[in-house]
């Protein structure tokens, strides 16, 4: 971290052009796989709900609005966080470890660039904004995919699954809090992983995999803590 602990990069002013570039590459670049993942997960959840509804002779249309609440409170943040831990964590961990191993960070320092402002903070902001974006798009993708699948298989109606009538302010606060903390934790996990492992080709690979594992664990821990706080 070039002499500064990872969380302290938040006190620097970010380089806007680099932040926009990182947001484009990490945030928007993660959108297709995360959207696909959430859509797949929506279909999986609908299938489980249909199986259980069939067993208990329940009407799936009555479960639909509850499905949206569950998605907003629990499943969208954890799935978006896990997929981004893999995509964003591995990319950021490997990139920073590579920059460290090839002495690009040293070169930037020599030329007077402030590493926190130019390198770390743009990635941190891109992580937070990208995760929020992926979470919102993910909820839409999952609910549309689940509703579409229910409509297609004749187990329920699309409108029941996209209905937000049971989602209240507390659910939305939990949703934003989880996504925001996940988004901040993933780049920080990658910075620390890169700092710990980033020397040589194997160090780069280890940094990428450590960033993913730490990222997933952060997502799980935040999910439990915030779930308990908002229970």
């Amino acid at each position: 971290m070039r002499g500064r602990p990872a969380p302290l990069v938040a006190f620097e002013r970010p380089a806007l052009a680099e932040t926009a570039r990182q947001l484009w590459s990490l945030g928007l670049g993660s959108l297709p796989i995360a959207t696909l993942a959430l859509a797949f997960f929506g279909v999986v959840l609908e299938k489980h709900a249909a199986l259980q509804a069939q067993r208990a002779l329940l009407d799936l249309d009555r479960i639909g609005p509850m499905f949206m609440k569950l998605l907003v409170r629990e499943f969208a943040p954890i799935m978006a966080g896990s997929v981004l831990a893999a995509r964003l964590g591995s990319a950021t961990g490997a990139e920073l470890a590579w920059m460290d191993a090839s002495e690009q960070l040293d070169a930037l320092s020599l030329y007077g660039a402030r590493i926190g402002r130019e390198v770390y903070l743009p990635r941190l902001l891109a992580g937070i904004l990208g995760t929020l974006l992926v979470g919102v798009v993910g909820v839409l993708a999952a609910s549309l995919a689940a509703g579409g699948f229910a409509q297609l298989t004749g187990t329920g109606r699309l409108s029941a699954f996209v209905s937000p009538r049971l989602v209240d302010g507390k659910d939305l606060a939990l949703f934003w809090a989880k996504l925001g903390l996940d988004g901040a934790s993933l780049p920080l996990a990658a910075f620390l992983a890169a700092r710990r492992h980033g020397r040589g080709p194997r160090g780069i690979a280890r940094a990428a995999s450590t960033a993913v594992v730490w990222g997933v664990l952060c997502v799980l821990v935040w999910d439990i803590l915030l779930g308990l706080a908002f229970a």
Binding site: V43, G200, P201, A205, L217, L220
Partner: protein
């Protein structure tokens, strides 16, 4: 102008399609050659892979599964408390853990830890010209190196998920006791009333498929990466991202077949 637009559109569709077909072909070839090598695997290499990939991931899987178990209780507990059906918590938490959360999270963490490391290892072997050297000496690299890794990783994911199921259920029972005051025996009874070995078997079926997908993605990423230092990092990244794509696709297909 129309011709140009047509050519551009053809390129935009054709290039990814050809790339996807080539990747699918390479995966099928690797899977086929590894399957034929199954009868004559190097037992010592397989044991080494199982020990490293499996045993050394036990701690991480235990932590992940314990968090997953607690998480499922926190997630289902909110709704179960609202509906006033605390007796269903064992069923809800057990069903979600065994069939979905545990296989999925163990596979995701395994892809991040071992899949990426194996992809990087294969890419480093290529970058160091050890794989071509083996081939030049007449050693079949698929039989000697890749097949033991593939089957070792697939078996590890299956065994780790079975271990993770036990840890997740124990953690869920403890979380239910600590957070909702549900006695452990009551949680256990609620689970046994509505769940059977079939629920665990379906989750393990998924994890076997996830294990193969992680192993194939890792080996393919290692073999396809550029044979240089940067390629090692690229292989690790590609292995994780491709494995996750496959895991989620397989999850949909296997849940659909339930």
């Amino acid at each position: 102008m129309t011709d140009r637009a047509l050519v551009a559109a053809g390129r935009a569709v054709g290039r990814p399609l050809v790339g996807w077909l080539r990747a699918a072909g390479a995966l099928a070839l690797l899977a086929g050659r590894s399957a034929t090598a199954l009868g004559s695997l190097d037992g010592r290499e397989l044991a080494r892979i199982l020990a490293w990939d499996g045993a050394q991931s036990l701690g991480l899987v235990a932590i992940t599964a314990a968090l997953a178990g607690a998480l499922v209780v926190v997630q289902t507990g909110f709704f179960i408390r609202q509906l006033g059906v605390l007796g269903l918590l064992g069923w809800g938490a057990g069903y979600a853990s065994l069939r979905e959360v545990c296989p999925l999270l163990v596979a995701l963490v395994y892809a991040g830890r071992v899949g990426a490391a194996r992809a990087a290892e294969v890419a480093a072997l290529r970058a160091g010209e050890q794989l071509p050297a083996l081939e030049a000496l007449g050693v079949d690299s698929v039989r000697a190196l890749l097949a033991p890794r593939l089957w070792g990783m697939a078996a590890s994911v299956l065994l780790l998920t079975a271990f993770g199921d036990v840890v997740a259920l124990a953690a869920a029972a403890l979380a239910a006791r600590g957070w909702l005051g549900l006695p452990v025996l009551e949680f256990w009874r609620s689970m046994r009333r509505s769940l059977g070995p079939r629920d665990a078997a379906l989750g393990l079926e998924k994890s076997a498929a996830f294990g193969l997908a992680i192993a194939l993605s890792a080996l393919r990423a290692g073999l396809a990466a550029p044979a240089n230092g940067r390629g090692v990092g690229q292989a690790a990244r590609a292995a994780v991202v491709h494995a996750i794509g496959w895991i989620l696709l397989l999850d949909v297909l296997l849940t659909g077949g339930m």
